[in-house]
């Protein structure tokens, strides 16, 4: 295990970033996600208009991995259609499960690719996928 593959500068910046971690006025969708065994606990706030995610934020607490993953996800899905967001969620989870064969596909995940190596740390996988699972729950309702 190489820590520097996990605690990358990008991830550490997003962990400390408070820009995406804030309340949101009048969200249209609020979804709660948690990993009881770790104590990771986030609330995802989305404003969806005509099938597009126009704004997003989160509140809650958790480890660096879950916090950064949430923040990076929010950057990625803002301005995207809900279908595109769901597709990204699927892609992210596939990446973590090492199920992606064509590396080009990964490009769509942009900064979220930083979590590719988390699959080498099974204990932390749950943390990285938490926001994406929460997003799926939020949008599938």
């Amino acid at each position: 295990m190489d820590l520097s593959q996990i605690y990358t500068q990008l991830i550490m910046e997003h962990n400390k970033n408070t820009q995406n971690k804030r309340a949101l006025d009048d969200p249209t969708i609020v979804e709660h996600g948690h990993n009881p065994s770790c104590g990771d606990d986030i609330t995802l706030n989305l404003i969806e208009k005509n099938g597009v995610i126009v704004d997003a934020s989160f509140t809650g607490s958790g480890c660096a991995i879950s916090q950064a993953s949430t923040s990076i996800m929010i950057d990625l899905i803002k301005g995207k259609s809900t279908e595109d967001a769901l597709e990204l969620a699927e892609l992210f989870i596939k990446m973590i499960k090492k199920e992606i064969e064509d590396d080009n596909e990964l490009e769509k995940l942009e900064d979220a690719v930083a979590f590719e190596n988390i699959s080498n740390m099974p204990a932390r996988v749950k943390c990285a996928v938490l926001p994406w699972h929460t997003l799926e729950e939020a949008l599938k309702k």
């Binding site: 550490m12 400390k16 065994s37 480890c63």
Partner: protein, 409 residues
């Protein structure tokens, strides 16, 4: 007070392992302990030479398995100073022991009765009583600890005439607090309550005497005291066990079975259904022999020295917040803490990269965590094979945690 001869680490094969290129520094002994060679060999010996289903066979191997099983009970009996080996019931773990109790004691309670726990109990010592309380309309009450994880005198006034059972861990698996169970037992008995001692965290580390505590019941797991997984103990005073209906039903615990009714055997059989884990019993016996060879007092002293040293070094680090008693007389070899700005899981991951096994989370004590106002903590816990060097590695490593997480220091 002396440290144990460091050569004993050679008795624990797993301690030769490398973790991420580093020597394994195993500091999660409150979760489970590593096994000495004599325990591992005992298990092999059992299967290589003696294995059979005990209690039912008239043939040599079965008689041997029976006598090994009985001998293990005799050893446990002596280890905790029980009156008779029939007071020793083997279960699969401490959790099953507590579930058995909550089930089989249910007849002792009437609506409105109170069960008293401490807020620092492990989920295994909360949930069975919670279900019982819901089923029978009992009141579940808690003793609360102060900021240092000590139960203030005044709390004991909660033990009153309605209190029918007090169940408490002798040592908290989060705070490391050693609770005054003998005193609690005395107060509870004055009020006519049954006393259950959860010795999961104490019995591996110090001499525990059921008669001295005057415990009505005591529970623990072999895997936390050098023994194998899959075997736990329930001690109970004979007259109480005699009166309890069985929990698990099945082979070996019966007298007569008819198509529509059945009668049950005496204790201990009544409370041990199905094929028993003789391997586990034999392994537990080997573990007790090892502990007694080293000496429980020596183990307690050893851990005291380690705990004192670790606390002293940790207190020097300004961004570390330690929970639990500062009075080391009331503190066993468990230290829970947090590192400022860093989530416990990240701390544990970083420590692991240096070869250190530590635990992060709620430690199966959510009510305590909530009461303390935290989500999670990091926990390190010591045992006889840990050394001052282990603590040095830990202290050095913990100093790197904040850097990895992008904080100046």
């Amino acid at each position: 007070m002396n440290l144990i001869d460091p050569k004993i680490i050679n008795d624990f094969p797993i301690l030769e392992r490398k973790i991420n290129g580093n020597r394994l520094v195993y500091l999660d002994n409150a979760a489970t302990t590593q096994k000495p060679r004599n325990v591992i060999d005992a298990i092999s010996d059992y299967y290589n030479n003696h294995n059979a289903n005990p209690h039912r066979g008239a043939y040599t191997l079965s008689v041997e398995a029976t006598s090994l099983y009985d001998s293990a009970k005799e050893t446990v009996k002596k280890f905790i100073n029980a009156n008779s080996k029939d007071e020793i019931i083997f279960t699969k773990n401490c959790t099953e022991s507590l579930n058995l109790l909550a089930f089989s004691l249910s007849g002792f309670f009437e609506e409105g009765d109170e069960i008293l726990l401490c807020v620092s109990e492990h989920h295994s010592n909360i949930l069975p009583w919670m279900r019982l309380s819901k089923d029978k309309n009992l009141k579940l009450n808690y003793l609360y600890v102060n900021d240092e994880g000590i139960i203030p005198e005044k709390e004991y006034e909660k033990i009153n005439n309605k209190t029918k059972l007090v169940s408490i861990a002798q040592m908290s698996n989060v705070l490391g607090t050693i609770f005054p169970v003998k005193k609690i037992s005395q107060i509870a008995h004055e009020k006519g309550a049954i006393v259950v001692i959860d010795a999961a965290q104490s019995i591996p580390h110090k001499k525990v005497d059921v008669k001295d505590i005057d415990a009505d019941f005591m529970v623990f797991s072999a895997h936390k005291m050098l023994g194998p997984m899959g075997i736990g103990v329930l001690y109970g005073k004979k007259h109480l066990l005699d009166d309890m209906p069985p929990f698990l039903l099945g082979g070996d615990m019966i007298e007569y079975v008819y198509e529509d009714h059945a009668t049950y055997a005496e204790i201990p059989f009544k409370l041990e259904a199905g094929t028993q884990n003789v391997e586990g019993a034999f392994g537990l016996e080997a573990a007790i022999h090892y502990l007694e060879k080293i000496g429980l007092q020596n183990i307690e002293n050893h851990e005291k020295i380690l705990t004192e040293y670790a606390m002293q070094e940790m207190l020097k680090i300004p961004y570390i917040n330690i929970y639990g008693p500062m009075d080391l007389e009331k503190h066993g070899g468990i230290i829970s803490f947090n590192v400022k700005d860093v989530h416990p899981h990240d701390v544990s991951t970083v420590l692991d990269s240096y070869g250190i096994s530590s635990r992060a989370g709620h430690h199966c004590c959510q009510p305590l965590m909530r009461y303390m106002g935290i989500n999670a903590s990091v926990r390190i816990s010591f045992y006889l094979y840990n050394s001052l060097e282990d603590i040095d590695v830990f202290i050095e490593s913990i100093k790197n945690v904040r850097k990895w997480l992008g904080y100046g220091s």
